[in-house]
């Protein structure tokens, strides 16, 4: 029997010829990510009585969660982080404004095929889109990684999700991953390594694959892998910070479960409040009144997402009573959107374009919700209270559905509305 991606990459990192499912390995990650929580991690690190971070070149720190600081407390945290990276000689530090960590790591070439990346953020699963094994860890674990560079990981069993056919415009990878999560549930892939495969995945851009891998954690998965290909290598050509060797699962690898989807049969999907697996076809919630529309975040804040949304906003106005927030995933995305005229489209439509960052996705600042308010968002979580009041409601959808809904003022099937530019 062949080996899965997870078995192969963990065996390689552990220096073993092979590892069995369930086997615990002691490994040294290639790169480790932390963000605004570095302030707390640095305090924990201080408890170990170790002066210096071991291998500072392995750590990437991105300030993105509460940027720019909206409170004195957040500002203090950021300041402490700047002092920490300076003292520790951590070069890969991306200060306020560069972007969201899950976009910055791929852009800066730290998310490499066949590598092991751990981050003190649950959506670290995103880098599976480039063929990395990447997973979230806790703050204490990140502090321990600063001190030792090592961590234990259990080798997960694997699921294969095979997606045949072709997605029909304007259906996106977001709709696909919501459909999968709705089908198998928030714990459907608990502790599993998910491998996405099939012609629909092969046809996808890297940006679309990042959505699938980002949201793998919303089905409980440890990582979400897409086989690296020409698109991956081309993207990394002038970015990769190190040489890499892609790892592919054996064709006869053993999967605990194989799920099959036909992309051509899929319509727009929406996750209803208050869980990501509470998924329905958009038709079921059409007409639901909204007060806020959020486009962006680490899930759907890339150029192709902004481009797709702009098609519904060009020459249109956001509905009265709706606030629309646009959060590009990084400075690079923002610049490209500027050059492509997308920012002008958003502003003319009445949307607010914010600096790259996590914004209100986690309810810290920049557009939190009051009791009774409803938001439609391209983010990855809609848990009760996440975006502010515990009596607010968040629906998750694709950039097309969010933009079409912002214009209509109610949740709208993007297939049923004319696109912008007078259409």
């Amino acid at each position: 029997m062949g080996l899965t991606f997870a078995q192969k990459v963990l065996a390689k990192k552990a220096g073993l010829s092979s590892v069995a499912v369930g086997q615990i390995v002691d490994v040294e990650p290639d790169y480790c990510l932390s963000h605004d929580n570095t302030a707390a991690i640095a305090k924990t690190f201080a408890k170990f009585g170790v002066e210096k971070v071991k291998n500072p070149e392995r750590f990437v720190i991105v300030l993105d969660h509460t940027v720019p600081a909206s409170t004195e407390e957040y500002a203090k945290g950021h300041k402490e982080i700047r002092e920490f990276v300076a003292k520790q000689g951590i070069q890969a530090f991306y200060d306020v404004g560069v972007g969201i960590c899950h976009q910055v790591l791929p852009e800066m070439g730290f998310a490499l095929p066949g590598s092991l990346v751990l981050g003190s953020d649950s959506h670290t699963t995103a880098y599976g889109a480039l063929g990395a094994f990447s997973a979230g860890v806790g703050r204490s674990e990140m502090a321990a990684l600063y001190a030792t560079s090592r961590i234990w990981l259990k080798t997960p069993a694997s699921f294969k999700i095979e997606v045949r056919g072709k997605l029909k415009e304007p259906v996106t990878s977001k709709d696909l991953v919501l459909k999968i999560i709705g089908d198998i549930g928030a714990d459907g892939a608990l502790y599993k390594s998910v491998e996405y495969a099939g012609e629909a995945i092969e046809a996808m851009s890297l940006s679309s694959r990042l959505v699938l891998s980002n949201m793998a954690v919303e089905m409980g998965a440890k990582n979400g892998y897409c086989a690296p290909d020409k698109k991956t290598f081309a993207f990394l050509e002038h970015r990769a910070v190190a040489e890499y060797t892609p790892i592919y699962p054996d064709s006869d690898a053993e999967y605990e479960r194989v799920l099959t989807y036909d992309a051509s049969k899929l319509g727009p999907q929406v996750a209803k409040p208050h869980t990501v697996d509470n998924v329905a076809p958009v038709e079921e919630v059409e007409g639901t009144k909204i007060g806020q529309a959020l486009l962006g975040t680490c899930t759907n804040g890339r150029l192709e997402d902004l481009r797709l949304a702009a098609r519904y906003l060009e020459g249109k106005k956001i509905a009265k009573g709706v606030r629309m927030i646009v959060l590009p995933a990084s400075q690079e995305v923002l610049l490209e959107a500027l050059r492509g005229g997308l920012i002008e489209i958003f502003v003319r439509a009445g949307a607010m374009v914010l600096n790259p960052g996590c914004g209100p996705c986690l309810g810290a600042h920049q557009g939190v919700l009051a009791a009774g308010e409803v938001c439609i968002s391209t983010a990855n979580r809609n848990f009760q209270g996440r975006m502010g009041s515990s009596e607010a409601a968040t629906y998750l959808a694709s950039p097309a559905t969010v933009a079409a809904s912002a214009v209509a003022g109610v949740i709208t099937d993007p297939r049923k509305v004319g696109r912008g530019g007078g259409a």
Binding site: D36, K47, E73, G136, S140, E141, A144, V368
Partner: protein, 163 residues
């Protein structure tokens, strides 16, 4: 042996209802975190939880964020252990790293109700409820070593001293 009164919850208790995102980047002591424990799930919990109480839940407890405070706030509230049908992998790791025992009863937890009395015998690997014993799998030795050292920080400190 842990012997405590039960707080009972359902499936998919997520990290946002355990410890809200709006608090995650505020510096807080564990005691301050405990004041917000389970705030958006059960507002009575933080006010009335007693040291030694046990949380019993359904599947996928602690799903969502990597935020360690979800485990810290429960531990600091005095809860002696969390029993669930399953845990999110991040909550599981965070709980162990905080020295909070987690017990997986894959067969289900529906027989246990709020305010019931439950015993956990770690040596025998059983949960005792209404005179009945329910087996749970032992933690791997690598994981148990962290828990036995009182969490990841003392565990790593010990290892660094040895090295």
């Amino acid at each position: 042996m842990i012997d405590g009164k039960v707080w009972k919850y359902g499936d998919d208790v997520n990290t946002d209802v355990i410890f809200a995102g709006k608090y995650t980047y505020k510096p807080m002591t564990p005691a301050e975190m405990a004041e917000h424990a389970l705030e958006d799930l059960d507002p009575t919990f933080a006010k009335t939880v007693k040291p030694g109480d046990i949380i019993v839940a359904g599947a996928n407890f602690g799903c969502g964020s990597s935020r360690e405070q979800a485990a810290t706030c429960i531990k600091a509230s005095g809860v002696a252990a969390v029993i669930a049908v399953s845990f999110s992998r991040l909550f599981f790791r965070n709980a162990i790293n905080e020295g909070l025992p987690v017990v997986e009863l894959a067969g289900g937890t529906t027989m246990i109700g709020k305010d019931d009395q439950v015993k956990i015998d770690f040596e025998k690997g059983v949960v005792i409820h209404n005179g009945k014993e329910y087996r749970f799998p032992a933690l791997p030795k690598e994981v148990l070593a962290i828990l036995n050292d009182g969490g990841l920080i003392p565990h790593v400190k010990k290892a660094l001293l040895k090295a």
